[in-house]
Each structure stands twice: as C-alpha cells, then as structure tokens.
C-alpha cells in the first residue's frame, strides 16, 4: 500500500540514491546505469525504479509498524484511558467483577522482578563478556559464545516449565528456608517458603537476560581498539588493570546500553514469569510472596476478559508495557551505537 504512494515521490530522489554520492563504506560507488547509456534502454531504468521503491516500501513498513502498534493499542484501550485516567497507574484494586481496574500491583511486580533480574544477571553477564572479549583463549571463544547464545534460543515456555519442576522446588526446599533462617530479619525474606513468587521470577528472568547483556557488552568491548590495551600494558599494567582502567571506562556507556536492553527484555518477558511468579495481584516487599507482572496479567486474563472495559484495561497495560519497552530500547540502542561509533572514530 505504501509503494503506490511512494513511487512517484521518490522518482527524482532514487537516481541520486542508487549510486551514493558519499558512500563511506568499502564499496566504491558504481556508475549509474544511465551515465554509461544503459544497453537495455529505458526499460531497465524503470526496473530499477520499481525495485528500489519496493524495497523502500518494505523498509518503511518497519518504520510504520511501531506507530501502527501504538495507534491500535491506544484505540483498544481508550475506554479504560477515559474511565480511569491517571489513577489507573496508582490504583491497587483489580476487580473484574465490580469493573474497577488499577495497574499498580502489576507495575510493581514488573519493576521489582526486572530489577531483581538485573541485580543477579548484570555482574555475571559482565564477567562472561569480559572473559569472552579479553581473556578467553581463542579456540574457546566461539563454542562458549555459542553456548551463551543457546540460552537465548531456549523457548520461554521451556524455561517456565523447568522453573516449575526444578527451580521452584529448589527454592522451596533449600534456598528459601536457608535465607529465611539467616536473613529473615530483613523484610525482603519474610514469609513462608512457597517457591512460587518474586524470587523465582527474578532468577528465571536473570537467566534469560544474561545472553542479551553478555553479547551486547562483548560487542562493545571488542569494538575498543587494541591501542588502548597496548598502551596500558606498555605502562606495566596487569591484565586486570588494563581491563579496569583502559577498556571498561571507554566501554561504559555501551555497557549501560546493554544493561538497559536487558531491562527491556526482562520487562516484556511473559511465559516463564507467568509460570513461576504465583500470579497474585498484590504489591509485597517480600521476595518470597507471589506477585504478578504486566505481561503475565495480559497473558492470563486477555482471553477471559468478558467485558469491554476489562479488555480495555488489559490493553492499556499492554500499551504501557509497549511504551516503556520502546523508550528503553530507543535509549539503549542509542547508547550502544554512540559508544561504538565514538570508539571507532577514535581508532
């Protein structure tokens, strides 16, 4: 549908686009077909035009998609937006029977579980990324990187399944009694050891975001030119000093980007969390208590929503989730990209 509108507008433009005037890449600009007098005549030029318009339309699809998603989500949730207003964010009641909806328990659950996941995953991911980029023997680099990426390939529902049958019993029988006994004075570790709950969700999420944080951080570390390392080693720095003082500071904003990206993943992760978090819409400070996240409530209740306003409330949660994830991803990608291009310029 785009291509019909696009073709005439881009007509004048595409002649200058096909042979780029300032292509900085490795590819030298090919001579435009019309410059050499195309042997196939005007027909091939039309072919080029059609082809570039079609590809451009496909590209534009990617730009239009987020806007279309926001539009649809706003439309689907407008009943709830107008009914509850801003109070939707802070209200704690979630009562489908009396048609009163507030998103606070879900926002709380999403934020706490994601932050917990970051607290667990970030140090480990950075350790792995540093190991892979700076220390690992060359031969181990690929297989180990592959194994870490496999963690990202395992489906969410399988993580959840494993969580129910391995992680939750482990927490219930070993970890939670231990924590309760020794750290039970902290409000974080109060309550009966149920297994299902915030702690289980945080751990599962941590495992799931490790590959994201690791691979992006590693990418950023590998983009840093070796001159930095050589300079530090030349000054007599140990290998750790080199990493700590010559590599990490340069990579910092890129690593922050990787962490934000991991946060975005954690916020939107659905199935595994839904299967282990216990699904109770209450905001409790204790990590042992069951909780609920925005993604989980959508997954569990969307097909059961029996009234328009119920569906609209769930759609508004989806809109909220989408908006937050969009902003986080924009920020993260910008950070990673800025770091990489700054580092590459300096090299």
């Amino acid at each position: 549908m785009d291509r019909v509108e696009q073709a005439p507008i881009e007509d004048a433009d595409s002649t200058s686009v096909v042979p780029p005037p300032a292509a900085k890449g490795t590819v030298p600009s090919p001579p435009g077909p019309e410059g050499l007098g195309s042997p196939e005549g005007p027909g091939s030029r039309r072919g080029d035009l059609v082809f570039s318009s079609v590809t451009r339309a496909a590209g534009l699809f990617l730009l239009v998609l987020p806007a279309a998603m926001i539009f649809q989500l706003v439309r689907a949730s407008h009943l709830s937006l107008s009914e509850f207003g801003l109070g939707f964010l802070s209200s704690t009641s979630w009562d489908p029977v009396r048609l009163r909806f507030g998103a606070w328990p879900f926002i709380f659950g999403t934020v706490v579980s994601s932050v917990l996941a970051l607290v667990i995953a970030v140090p480990i991911s950075l350790g792995v990324a540093i190991f892979l980029a700076e220390m690992c023997p060359h031969r181990m680099r690929k297989p180990l990187g592959f194994l870490v990426e496999l963690l990202a390939a395992i489906p969410s529902v399988v993580y959840g399944f494993w969580g129910i049958f391995v992680l939750v019993p482990l927490l219930r029988e070993k970890v939670q009694p231990f924590l309760g006994e020794h750290l039970g004075f902290l409000p974080l570790f109060k309550g009966p050891p149920l297994g299902f709950g915030m702690l289980a969700a945080g751990i599962i999420l941590a495992i799931m975001i490790v590959p994201t944080v690791t691979s992006i951080s590693r990418e950023v570390l590998l983009a840093i030119p070796n001159t930095h390392r050589e300079a530090a080693i030349g000054l007599g720095a140990t290998s750790w000093d080199t990493i700590r003082h010559a590599v990490l500071p340069v990579a910092r904003s890129g690593i922050v980007g990787a962490i934000v990206l991991g946060l975005g993943r954690a916020l939107g992760e659905t199935m595994a969390v839904t299967m282990v978090i216990g699904n109770r819409p209450e905001a409790s400070i204790s990590l042992f208590e069951p909780a609920y996240t925005m993604a989980s409530v959508i997954a569990n209740e969307f097909t059961e929503a029996d009234s328009d306003i119920y569906l609209a409330a769930l759609s508004e949660i989806a809109l909220l989730l989408f908006g937050v994830a969009l902003v986080l991803n924009l920020l993260a990608r910008w950070l990673v990209r800025a770091t990489k291009s700054r580092v590459e310029q300096r090299a």
């Binding site: 091939s44 590809t55 689907a76 991911s125 390939a153 993580y159 399944f161 199935m271």
Partner: protein, 304 residues
C-alpha cells in the same frame, strides 16, 4: 617498572634474581589481577549451569514419551492412555509457514533496501535503528496488537493472525541479518555486473543476493528457530484447538501453547506429554542453531 634495571629507580641495586621478582605492591596487583580473572572464569561457568540443567531435564524427562503416536495422534482426555500432540505439531508448522511467507519477503526486501538502496541515507539509518528497537519489544504486546488488528475485525481467533504476529517478531531480525550479509558481498562483484551493463536491480537480485544466499539462509533458520518457541504472541491470535485443523481462518493448536497448557496442568500424564513436547521443540531449535552455524562457517570459508 624498575624491574628493567634502570639504575636511578632502585638506589641500592639488590641481586639480579630479586630484580626479576615483583615489588611488594606489584605482588598485590598481580594477585588482584588473578582474582578478577578467576571471577570472570567462574561467571562463565555459572552461566552454563542453567543451560545444562535445562537440557538435561528436558531430554531425560521427555525422551520416554517419544513415540510415533506423539506426532500422529490427537490429545486425549486425562486418564486415557496414549495420545499425542500431532495437531499441535502440524499447527506449528502451518503457523510458522504463514509467518515466513509474510515475514521473509518483507524482511529480506527491507534488508536489501538498507544495504543496496538506502545505504547511509537518513531514511535507511532510521529504519536500521527501528529494526534494532523492534527486535527488543515484548512479544506479548505484539499479540495484543494483532488481536486488535485481526481477531477483532475477523471476529475469531485464527492461524492467520498467529502467523502475522510471528512475522512481526521475525521481520526485524531478518532485515538486520540480510543487510549485514549483503554488506559482506565484495563491491567488485557489483561493479563487474554493472560494467557489463546489467541493470542495478538485476545485479542486486542475481549477483548480490545470490552470493549472500547461504548466509541469508542461516539467518532465516535462526529466525525460524526463534519464532518456533514463541508462545505469548499466539495466546490470543492463533489460540488453541483440540482437534485437527488445517483452516487458516480458524483457531489452531501450536506446540508452545500446547506445552504451556500441559505443563501448567495438575495431571502427571499431561506433564509427561509436555516434557516430550519441550524436548522436541528444544532439539529442533538446537538443530536449527547448530546447522546455521555450520552453514555460516562453510560459506565464510568458501568466500575467502
């Protein structure tokens, strides 16, 4: 630093052997370096624990339920022996096929645009950026979006809606891999073709895309691996179905949704089925990932 034996650095030069030894502060720095190296190695070890635990559980629990009836039979009610999730296997294949039919052309064409047409232009940069951003968005919200877009307008859940939802999941990945692989195609191939008077679009399709085809195939395999495990976008698009169904405008079962249903059920027989399903899914995804690696490595070797 005085280890090199600069005379002014150490006023009282000790014996040669101790010159080679690190100074006291030096020793601490070396030790610290060792400790942190150890920490990083430990992290790499810790990270692999859940991976191996998951693979171990899925395979040991799942393998016993593996039989031909798993792939050919319908689910049976609790208490009845046998049964399988044949309809979910077929459903997954159909939904993934639909997603690929929609997602691959759009994704590959957009990748071609980024690499061959738009290149460093502002529009191309914006699209590139948005593709990266889209790949990180929660898939459940894609499900809600497609629900509002298709299920509401068609008045029923459908396999087609599931396919559309999964295609949205796969398009950004396909776009970015296609672009990166097309960039690897050496410029002189394009120049040679253009110099022979081949129009730019034919050069792109028959020279550039063809050269990059094996690489793009691996990208496609990885994308298919990714969407074959996606559950959240299917919950309220394709929904589920207890029976054989081949109509794409009707609700359809799929492996991940079926695994979810069985895994969260209280019945032992269903949970066993879910383990088997999980094993089939995980083995398939591992296979796709490994095969993609092998093909990529081989085609890289051929290009050099």
């Amino acid at each position: 630093m005085s280890v090199n034996g600069h005379p002014s650095a150490s006023p009282d030069p000790p014996a040669r052997s101790s010159l080679l030894e690190p100074a006291p502060g030096e020793r601490w720095r070396l030790l610290r370096s060792r400790i942190w190296t150890g920490v990083c190695v430990a992290c790499a070890g810790i990270v692999l624990l859940p991976l191996f635990s998951i693979l171990l559980y899925v395979i040991t629990r799942g393998v016993s339920g593996l039989s031909t009836s798993f792939f050919t039979h319908l689910p049976v009610p609790v208490g009845e022996p046998g049964g399988g999730m044949g309809n979910a296997v077929v459903g997954s294949v159909i939904i993934i096929g639909l997603a690929s039919a929609i997602g691959l052309p759009i994704g590959i064409l957009a990748g071609v645009y980024l690499s061959e047409v738009g290149r460093r232009g502002r529009l191309a940069n914006a699209i590139r950026f948005m593709a990266d951003v889209l790949s990180g968005l929660p898939s459940i919200t894609i499900g809600v979006f497609v629900y509002a877009l298709m299920v509401v307008t068609m008045h029923r859940f459908s396999a087609l809606a599931g396919g559309v939802a999964l295609s949205i999941v796969m398009i950004p990945t396909i776009t970015r891999t296609t672009e990166e692989l097309l960039r690897l195609v050496p410029g002189h191939l394009r120049e040679a073709s253009l110099a022979l008077g081949v129009p730019a679009w034919r050069t792109t399709v028959f020279v550039v895309l063809r050269t990059a085809a094996p690489g793009i195939a691996t990208g496609v395999m990885l994308a298919v691996a990714r969407i074959s495990g996606e559950t959240a976008p299917l919950l309220f698009t394709a929904f589920n179905n207890r029976f054989w169904s081949f109509a794409i405008d009707r609700p359809m079962a799929s492996m991940p949704v079926q695994i979810l249903t069985y895994a969260t059920s209280p019945y032992k027989e269903w949970q066993d089925q879910a383990w088997t399903g999980a094993m089939v899914l995980v083995v398939l995804i591992l296979f796709l990932n490994l095969a993609a690696r092998v093909i990529a490595a081989r085609s890289m070797g051929a290009a050099r």
